[in-house]
């Protein structure tokens, strides 16, 4: 029985079926990018088990196997082939090598899709920064002074804000009661006490907050908002509105200590820092076609005793501490540089697997070619 299954999934019909499935998925996922943007399309088509469609009843129904399911089918088929069908002799060695390579490539891509993180680091000229920011996820940061120019930061992730009614932590003397949490919202100026104005303290007392549908666009980022009541020893301190639309931190006094609280893009801090010395942007003479973007940064890592200047430019990232920093964007009359920060533990797998596949294909096709030439002669 088991052997029959192996034979079936390594059979020609199943293999061709898997390939067609992948092709159709790729076409669908590409066309979908026009409507829903590339990030959303990637999540819904390739980084999922099923592709869903919303019916008129408002229920989502799975309609097509997603990227992860297809990858699993491929994985099954390939492993089965290597066990029951592959012929390990001299004539077929190229085929075996190539298929082993495809298997590794597949695994590497699955790991990359699950594990890799992309964030952005924004630097003004002269500014020193030791963190990068997520372009989608947010956090509620509670910052208090720790003396000697240092700060304590308690970061409350969005999942906690949207999933819980109350947040208690030994790190903070007060309790946060979550009244509302909107992943996307619109902030409108309004009178105190008007509809949808919840805050009684802080910067949001004259702001109405209305829930909005999460956008799926690549260009527009959502405005996440939360309405939080602070409770200190059973006594309410008031209700605050925190939102990525309100960029300034708001102060909460509790037990004689001032806490600065702000909703901001989720930060990833590094044990090292970068200082932007200079950003430059050249164009071709007499045109506005960009010729080159580059950021000259100073890398400072006290723990490793590294302190040096690095030039980051197109196609030449800085790889350091498990992260890679790429020149991504710029602004403010060329005084601001945006670096894309990528952490991908599986970044080497495509290099390894593709080399293996190419060797396999080259071996196989060369032997075919030699046979063919011999036949012609």
């Amino acid at each position: 029985m088991f052997r029959q299954i192996l034979l079936f999934v390594s059979g020609v019909k199943f293999i061709l079926f898997c390939m067609l499935l992948m092709m159709i998925l790729v076409v669908l996922g590409t066309v979908a990018q026009v409507d829903i943007g590339s990030f959303a399309a990637q999540q819904e088509y390739f980084n999922s088990f099923w592709v869903y469609t919303r019916t008129s009843l408002g229920i989502s129904v799975p309609v097509f196997p997603g990227g992860l399911t297809t990858a699993l089918l491929w994985f099954m088929s390939l492993t089965a082939t290597l066990f029951v069908r592959a012929r390990y002799d001299r004539r077929h060695i190229g085929i075996v090598i190539a298929h082993a390579g495809v298997l590794i490539l597949l695994l590497g891509q699955i790991f990359t899709q699950i594990l890799s993180e992309e964030t952005r680091m924004v630097l003004q000229e002269g500014q020193t920064v030791n963190y990068s920011m997520s372009s989608r996820e947010v956090e509620l940061a509670v910052i208090s002074d720790a003396g000697e120019g240092r700060e304590n930061v308690v970061s409350i992730p969005w999942e906690a804000l949207s999933g819980k009614d109350e947040i208690r932590t030994p790190l903070l003397p007060f309790v946060l009661r979550i009244k509302k949490a909107y992943p996307n919202s619109r902030l409108v100026h309004a009178k105190a006490g008007a509809r949808d104005v919840f805050a009684t303290q802080g910067a949001g007392t004259e702001t109405a907050v209305k829930e909005a549908r999460p956008s799926r666009s690549d260009e527009v980022s959502d405005t996440a908002s939360a309405v939080v009541e602070m409770v200190d020893g059973g006594k309410s301190l008031g209700i605050w509105l925190f939102s990525t639309g309100l960029e300034q931190p708001q102060t909460v006094q509790a037990q004689g200590q001032a806490y600065q609280i702000v909703m901001r893009p989720l930060r990833q801090t590094f044990p090292f820092s970068l200082t932007l010395a200079d950003f430059s942007h050249d164009v071709y003479p007499g045109t506005d076609i960009p010729k080159n973007f580059s950021s000259l940064v100073r890398l400072n890592d006290p723990s490793k005793n590294e302190n040096r200047e690095v030039l980051i430019y197109m196609n030449h990232p800085l790889r350091y501490g498990g992260y890679a920093f790429y020149q991504a964007s710029y602004g403010k009359d060329d005084t601001l540089s945006v670096l894309q920060v990528v952490r991908n533990p599986a970044w080497l797998t495509p290099y390894v697997s593709c080399t293996i596949i190419l060797i396999g294909l080259a071996v196989q096709f060369t032997s075919h070619l030699l046979q063919f030439v011999r036949k012609l002669q």
């Binding site: 019909k13 061709l16 003479p285 010729k291 196609n315 190419l358 294909l361 063919f372």
Partner: protein, 614 residues
């Protein structure tokens, strides 16, 4: 048939080859013009345009192409070279305004100009002039919307063409001015006398008439500086550095104060003066002197410009198209020609001319590479040229191995088709444009882009060989099992080749993406397009390897590969429709649909019963 006839027919390849070589040799000489003005020499003057130094003629050709869709000017007295039109644009704007150069096809845009649609498609600036205000107003509406109607995108195209037209006319002088040379001479001496007065401490009366007229001229040339389309003046201190080249306005306003206006400016103005007064002797004299001085100052740049000018007028790709058509016809006729001796002679002629056409196209490609200092594929236009080149090269190999005319027919068809596609892609302007920052890497252009393009070439080659098979299977009674095997061998071999190269190219693209954006694979449309070609080739290879499909089914799959390749080559570009690709891509969609349907019909032939008698 007697022996003398056989000798005669077997010399056919030699005769045809010799004729074609003579015809090609004639094209390497500068073209003959009727004009008494030395147009060939003026064509070779170097200017900075679009970020690189190029001959005046390239500016003339690309500008005229962008406005009218043609590289020559149509007048009631016949076709005239683009550079003659440019001379009028630069120095005699009034005359240029009467030429019909604006291509307008959209009936609604014509309606805006109160013109009924007839078969006239080209219109003069003079006709548009009364409506300029309205066009500008409509354009500003259109610019504010992102989801444009056909009228709006056509109008924006017209608006940008008018803009280009006006910029060109204001590049050498204020458009339509009759006495530019005299004026600038007065300006220079006037400025100098004011500077002298200032140095000797005499206060300048701001209401002085002379001063006011000087200020007016200064103002005019500041405008020329702002709108100039190209920069013709080498910097006096760093002539080799393109960055330092100046436009006329800048050269006049900046240099008037310090040490006088550059002699280059005066040469151009004098040429303009001579041209207006219809004085070819004076024009040619100034031109020759100016060109000699340039040859001494910037010999390297002048050599490049000269090479580009040869490339411009010898039109190697156009010549290749004609040769490819000839190859296709010869090889095709060799299949249906009845007599015994004719087919081999025709077949051999086709093969020889195929090699000649390939050499011509290779020369053209090489010239572009030398001029750009880059690998052959840098944009959509050059990808079309290179896809054809690669397919022809492989076709020659196939023809050498099998000698049945199949390689020649297919190579001729693909070579001709891709060059025609390239021609239609070139309407966007200069095809040797500068590379945007992220693409500025000769290493990746030479590896990733080349391998992926070869993948396209070979996928097309196998697809078109399969097309021929399906036709012959349907029509040819005499198709033998040996023929079947030959076709199957060719197609399978080329599909393996495609699989290898498209996979290698896709991986190299992934590595490039990993180097520049930090991810190997991002499911981006262009990447997905490449992946689909890899998957489809792998599909065919598996279907054959595992004996799943008959020869006919494999051929049908190979033909479907044509659709897959066209979609990932062009279709993907259409998903992210940009402003500049609007006009072309609308048309392209129609062609892609027509092509895909035709391929599906051919696939359908495979389901018809065979004609052959066994």
């Amino acid at each position: 048939m007697n022996i003398r006839n056989i000798v005669r027919i077997s010399y056919l390849p030699h005769v045809l080859l010799a004729l074609c070589i003579v015809w090609l040799a004639g094209a390497v000489r500068p073209p003959h013009t009727d004009s008494p003005f030395d147009l060939n020499s003026f064509s070779e003057l170097p200017v900075l345009h679009g970020g690189r130094i190029k001959p005046m003629d390239t500016v003339a050709r690309t500008s005229l192409l962008m406005l009218s869709g043609k590289q020559t000017l149509k007048t009631p007295e016949g076709r005239k070279p683009a550079v003659l039109w440019l001379l009028d644009m630069l120095f005699m704007a009034e005359r240029a305004d009467d030429y019909n150069v604006f291509e307008i096809n959209d009936p609604d845009v014509l309606g805006l100009l109160k013109i009924q649609q007839t078969d006239q498609r080209l219109f003069a600036y003079r006709t548009l002039e009364p409506f300029l205000e309205e066009i500008e107003k409509q354009a500003s509406y259109a610019e504010q919307t992102s989801d444009r109607t056909r009228f709006q995108s056509a109008l924006l195209t017209l608006f940008s063409r008018i803009n280009l037209y006006q910029k060109l006319q204001h590049t050498m002088q204020t458009a339509g001015k009759e006495n530019a040379l005299a004026e600038v001479q007065t300006f220079e001496s006037g400025i100098r006398s004011f500077e002298e007065k200032k140095r000797s401490g005499i206060t300048i009366d701001l209401k002085d008439e002379n001063f006011i007229s000087l200020a007016k001229i200064l103002q005019e040339y500041k405008l020329v500086h702002e709108v100039a389309e190209f920069r013709p003046i080498p910097s006096p201190d760093r002539p080799e550095d393109p960055q330092a080249w100046m436009d006329i306005g800048e050269a006049i306003t900046e240099n008037a104060r310090e040490g006088g206006i550059s002699p280059s400016v005066m040469s151009y103005l004098e040429m303009g003066d001579a041209y207006r007064q219809a004085d070819p002797a004076r024009f040619n004299g100034v031109l020759a002197k100016y060109k000699d001085s340039l040859k001494q100052k910037i010999p390297g740049l002048m050599k490049n410009v000269h090479l580009e000018e040869i490339f411009n007028y010898s039109e190697p790709f156009y010549k290749s198209i004609i040769l490819y058509v000839l190859v296709f016809l010869l090889a095709f006729v060799s299949w249906i020609a009845g007599t015994k001796d004719l087919p081999p002679a025709l077949n051999r002629s086709a093969y020889w001319l195929l090699i000649l056409a390939f050499v011509v196209q290779t020369l053209g490609l090489t010239a572009r590479m030398v001029l750009q200092g880059r690998p052959p594929v840098t944009n959509l236009y050059s990808s079309a040229v290179f896809v054809g080149w690669g397919a022809v090269l492989l076709g020659i190999v196939v023809e050498r191995l099998y000698r049945k005319g199949i390689g020649s027919v297919v190579a001729g068809a693909i070579g001709c088709a891709t060059l025609i596609i390239a021609h239609h892609l070139s309407n966007q302007g200069d095809t040797m444009e500068m590379m945007r920052a992220v693409l500025d890497s000769n290493f990746w252009l030479a590896t990733h882009v080349i391998t992926i393009t070869i993948g396209y070439s070979s996928t097309f080659l196998s697809g078109f060989i399969a097309v021929i098979y399906l036709f012959r299977r349907w029509l040819d009674r005499k198709l033998t099992p040996q023929d079947d095997d030959a076709f199957a061998g060719m197609v399978y071999g080329i599909v393996c080749f495609s699989l290898f190269f498209s996979f290698l190219g896709t991986i190299l693209g992934g590595i490039w993406a990993d180097q520049s954006w930090g991810r190997f694979w991002g499911w981006d449309p262009k990447e997905n397009g490449a992946l689909i070609i890899v998957l489809w080739n792998a599909f065919i290879v598996h279907a054959r390897w595992m004996n799943f499909a008959s020869t006919t089914r494999i051929m049908q799959m190979a033909v479907f590969g044509n659709i897959v390749t066209v979609l990932s080559w062009f279709g993907v570009n259409m998903l992210g429709v940009g402003l500049h690709s609007y006009g072309f891509m609308d048309q392209a969609l129609t062609w892609i649909v027509i092509f895909s349907v035709s391929q599906l019909i051919i696939i359908g032939f495979g389901f018809l019963p065979e004609r052959r008698t066994r």
